[in-house]
Amino acid sequence: MQPSTERHTAEMPSPASSQEGAAEELRVVPLRHPFRWISGGLAAVVLVAILVSLASNPNLDTPSVLQYLFHPAVLRGLTTTIWLTIVAMVLGLAGGTVVAVMRLSANPVLRYIATVYIWFFRGTPLLVQIIFWGFLGALYPFLSLGIPLTEITFVQVSTSTVIGATTASLIALTTNEAAYAAEIVRAGILSVDSGQAEAASALGLNGAQTTFKVVLPQAMRVIIPPMGNETITMLKSTSLVSVIGGADLLSNAQSIYAQNFKVIPLLVVVALWFLVLTSLLTIGQGFLERRFGRGISRTGHPGGFAARWISVRRNKTLSIEPEEQHR
């Protein structure tokens, strides 16, 4: 704080000095904040106490954590978790876009179906849905392909042979995600000013061209941040499929500690991997936000994290942006 206040006096001369030129400069005494030091110090002491207690606790068993961090079963589970996340998000976003378009459709039947879909899949817990899909065979022992509402059947198979634990996990995560994504996509589409679609129509674009080239690219700006959060939530929600033996990171860690009882070290391994993945996702989200924020941020394309950070800092210290480009 000290240097900036001194610069403050240098840059902004007091009225007296500007009038008389050689007048004496007045020193600014910054406001003291004693409570900041007290509260910050207390918080630091508590934090250090927790860390020391954890570090000295033999049950944390750091050697076991390191031993299992790259264990083949852990890495296999990690792979399953990653691809479940990616596939469920891609399919969920695609399905969600369809449901969102249905919900905004002029057709009342489609609108009603979309509303009920969202109501059902957002209204029941994901864990219940996962278990439900895991036990689908109890509801429909056989799956058949035929003409609906008739007795005509072309193919019939046992449910348990086509829908294993992994497929059930994927279906559960995808159908659930589609309901949430639908609302996000719908909000994105509604956020685009109706004048944009009107201008596109006036230029002779048809409905599909207007939607895909004018409305959706601008909706992306609003869709991306919540979808980034959805991806991070999804990554963690994949651990729920452990209840039906989905072979994800948590499932595999559980089967290891079921044998050697090293529960805490393996849960630490799981937590560390999730932290690594969510950190990577956060970085990726930043890149996407800048890509689809084109034309909105006045600075254009900031170079990267460093540039962004510096520009944020600069805006905080200077109240007026040097941006007198227009005419």
Binding site: E198, A199, L203, G204, G295, H326
Partner: protein, 262 residues
């Protein structure tokens, strides 16, 4: 100029007969008749809520009419006549009709995710498949025409209102329209930026573009328009040359309006 642009010289560019339009129970257009010949500049003036903007939007079917017939270059807008029945057009056919009617909006409505150049080059590429360096040169020439060639790489948010509106005019011109509609093009501009936009419109009129302009700029109407039409309460109160309408208004309502705005 393509074949579709040629129409017989005696066919009016825009002909409205008995146009009616209601929003819910409110009738905003009560049987509007209006004719604009090729190469003419027609200004629509009147108090807000008089139906001028709605009428303008009926010309390119952004609003469908509830009664009457709208013709642009002799073609019925939004409907196909078969025998004594009018069939509503499919959206794709409406889009084709709109291609040659350019529109400029009060709020500019530039595509916010595209630069000035991309805004101009966009519709010819998507609608007519005109791409590549020739299309790019044509778009840059249009930006040159509105005085903004050096701003080609800027996004709308980086342009002033007047610059945005000039880009919007260039964007509409890129589709080679035979009729240009202006919906209060200077109403949301700072006063010192209005002049540049009106200059561009004046040049367009001088080049022989047929224009229908909803405006509150009486000076522009007096100087550039061939006909001025005064609307109030969903009807055309009176219409004439600028000299007639501004110099010698026949109706009390016109006189009352002009006394407030002049």
């Amino acid at each position: 100029m393509s074949m579709s642009l040629s129409i017989a010289p005696d066919v009016p560019m825009m002909e409205a007969r008995g146009i009616r339009k209601s929003f819910g129970r409110v009738e905003v257009l009560k049987s509007i008749d209006m004719t604009v010949r090729q190469g003419e500049v027609a200004c629509l003036i009147g108090p807000s809520g008089s139906g001028k903007s709605t009428f303008l939007r009926c010309i390119n079917h952004l609003e469908s009419v509830d009664g009457g017939q709208m013709r642009v270059a002799g073609q019925l807008v939004g409907y196909t006549q078969r025998g004594n029945k009018l069939h509503e057009m499919r959206p794709a056919d409406v889009a084709k009709q709109r291609k040659h009617v350019g529109m400029v909006f009060q709020r500019f409505n530039l595509f916010a995710h595209m630069t000035a150049l991309e805004n101009v080059i966009f519709a010819p590429g998507v609608v007519d498949g005109r791409r590549g360096s020739a299309a790019r040169e044509a778009a840059l020439a249009l930006l040159e025409r509105v005085g903004l060639r050096s701003w080609a790489g800027h996004y709308p948010a980086q342009l002033s209102g007047g610059q945005q509106q000039r880009v919007a005019i260039a964007r509409a011109l890129a589709m080679q329209p035979r009729l240009m509609l202006f919906d209060e093009p200077t109403s949301s501009l700072d006063p010192e930026l209005v002049g540049d936009v009106l200059d561009v419109m004046r040049d367009l009129a001088r080049d022989g573009m047929t224009m229908i302009v909803v405006t509150h700029e009486m000076g522009f109407a007096r100087e550039v328009a061939d006909t001025v039409t005064f609307m109030d309460g969903g009807v055309v109160v009176e219409s004439g040359t600028p000299a007639e309408l501004f110099g010698n208004p026949r109706h009390a309502r016109t006189r009352a309006f002009l006394s407030k705005v002049l």
